[in-house]
């Protein structure tokens, strides 16, 4: 059952991700990102990372994807770029493919050759407690720094958006 679900989600992720890359229509790319993000969230659930999965949906679909689509909709109206033409040249396509294939091969070699130390698997009831404790104890400084960074970004965005 779980294997079946894994292959279903993997198929959704790979299929929609290839639409994102290969589609000539930017809107198709933007909208199929929805299925990519959703499939990745499903994979997280299968790995018992429930909190990460929901954060994935919340942040990537509810936030970033909406902003991407919003941006595409608005910029095409302003700059007049035709969103239906795939203007990427052959040169970029070939170079990108070569680089991607090289990275993929080296990653596969890395994964198969390194001897991974596997911890004994304990199915967690919920991950949110341990995430919370880790944030407030061991990783307090990185957590606070990230919070300050977000605050700076917020203040900066307000400053830019404010009319003089």
């Amino acid at each position: 059952m779980e294997d079946l679900l894994f292959y279903l989600f993997a198929f959704v992720v790979i299929g929609s991700a290839s639409v994102v890359v290969l589609s000539k229509n930017i809107m198709y790319s933007a909208f199929s990102l929805l299925f990519t993000f959703f499939g990745v969230a499903g994979l997280y659930v299968l790995l018992f990372a429930d909190f990460v999965a929901l954060t994935q949906i919340m942040v990537y679909i509810g936030g970033i994807l909406v902003l991407i689509i919003f941006g595409v909709l608005l910029t095409t109206k302003i700059t007049g770029v035709d969103i239906k033409s795939g203007t990427t040249g052959k040169v970029q396509l070939i170079t990108a493919s070569v680089v991607v294939v090289i990275i993929a091969i080296s990653l596969i070699l890395l994964f198969t050759n390194v001897e991974w130390v596997n911890q004994e698997f304990v199915q967690p009831n919920t991950t949110i407690d341990s995430i919370g404790f880790a944030f407030m104890t061991k990783y307090l400084l990185p957590f606070e720094i990230a919070a300050v960074l977000l605050l700076i970004a917020l203040v900066g965005a307000t400053l830019i958006a404010r009319r003089k």
Binding site: M27, Y28, F31, L34, D50, F51, L54, T55, I57, M58, I61, G62, G63, L65, V66, I69, F70, L73, L74, N125, T126, I128
Partner: protein, 350 residues
């Protein structure tokens, strides 16, 4: 309470049980939609001093059935210049996103489709999924009114998610849990244990009553905006945008949008019921308690808020776009910050 799902208790944990569990909310939703449509017609008639539908059945109570049959047999039009794949996909995404919320709604202490520990967070996350369908429909219709409706909807929903998230954060602090069943169990007993009255605890909570009331009102306002209901229906304001993002839709696909809106109305009402009004708990201690009466209490409390939404829709005028942003960022957000601090103080004092 080891296994909080009566279907699993009856026929065991197999795929038939999973199928039944995932279909039960759908059956409820179909019945609820008929009642809500009738409610919308009759309440609007009452508010406007009309009779409303009177011909179909006694006092017109079969009218929703007639409306559904009418919608089913209408021609399914796809505009020539619309983007067909996205145009046809949008209503389904919209409805799937609404129905996803039902996965964690606890109808009773013995029935919740999926009793995950992160129920509240899940509702917040899938609540933001629907906008994608809305934007998709708005863009694919190839109609300037639809596109404007889609853009307005995004600006509105993204803004109002923030006060709503602050309220949910406060509830998480007060309950110390994101599990909806656990949140409801903490509000058991008499109605003064509900989170709208500051939760269970000593008399010190009376000082904090205004804050919890304001929190509840903030969530009700924000949830109206998230379901695109008047006074926040600027994405589909008919006097400005024809019908907004669903201008070009007809027949079954329009019905899907319509159905998704009603499902969303119930979901936000259910959230208000769960986080502020004690979910399936009886308001009077053990009077009419237990799992079966729990369904009754939960559904009737949720229906009160569905009624409130219909009532507000037919009495209030629509906000302007700038007023909408003003309400979210300059009124609801600062108030929710203050209330969050105050209620956190209450949790520390208890």
């Amino acid at each position: 309470m080891e296994e909080a799902n009566f279907v699993f208790n009856m026929i065991g944990e197999n795929w038939i049980a999973f199928a039944i569990i995932s279909l039960l909310p759908m059956i409820f939703l179909l019945a609820y939609a008929l009642i809500a449509i009738l409610g919308e017609l009759k309440i609007s008639a009452f508010i406007q001093e009309r009779l409303g539908p009177m011909r179909t059945g006694p006092w017109g109570i079969i009218q929703p059935v007639a409306e559904v049959v009418k919608l089913l047999q209408k021609e399914d039009i796809t505009p020539d210049s619309a983007n067909k794949p996205l145009f046809n996909l949008a209503p389904f995404i919209m409805f799937a996103a609404s129905y996803a919320g039902f996965a964690v709604i606890p109808f009773s202490s013995y029935f919740v489709p999926s009793g995950i520990n992160l129920g509240l967070f899940f509702l917040l996350a899938v609540g933001s999924l629907g906008i994608i369908g809305l934007l998709m429909g708005g863009w694919a219709s190839n109609n300037k009114y639809s596109l404007l409706g889609g853009l307005r909807a995004v600006a509105q929903i993204v803004s109002y998610e923030i006060p709503a998230a602050m309220v949910i954060l406060t509830i998480a602090v007060m309950a110390g849990s994101l599990d909806l069943q656990e949140i409801i169990r903490q509000q058991s007993g008499w109605f003064w244990n509900w989170f709208v009255f500051g939760g269970s605890g000593g008399w010190i909570k009376i000082i904090f009553l205004p804050f919890s009331f304001i929190m509840c009102i903030i969530y009700i306002i924000a949830s109206l905006a998230e379901t695109n209901r008047t006074p926040f229906d600027i994405p589909e304001g008919e006097s400005e945008l024809v019908a907004g993002y669903h201008t070009e839709y007809s027949g079954m696909k329009f019905a899907m949008f319509f159905f998704a809106e009603y499902a969303n109305m119930f979901i936000v009402s259910a959230i208000i019921t769960i986080i502020f009004f004690g979910g399936w708990n009886s308001p009077f201690g053990d009077f009419m308690g237990g799992p079966i009466w729990g369904v009754f209490w939960f559904v009737s409390k949720a229906f009160v808020f569905v009624f409130l939404q219909i009532w507000l829709r037919w009495t209030l005028p629509r906000l302007r776009v700038d007023q909408l942003m003003y309400v979210s960022w300059k009124v609801l957000l600062p108030f929710s910050f203050v209330c969050f601090l105050a209620l956190s103080l209450l949790v520390m004092l208890k």
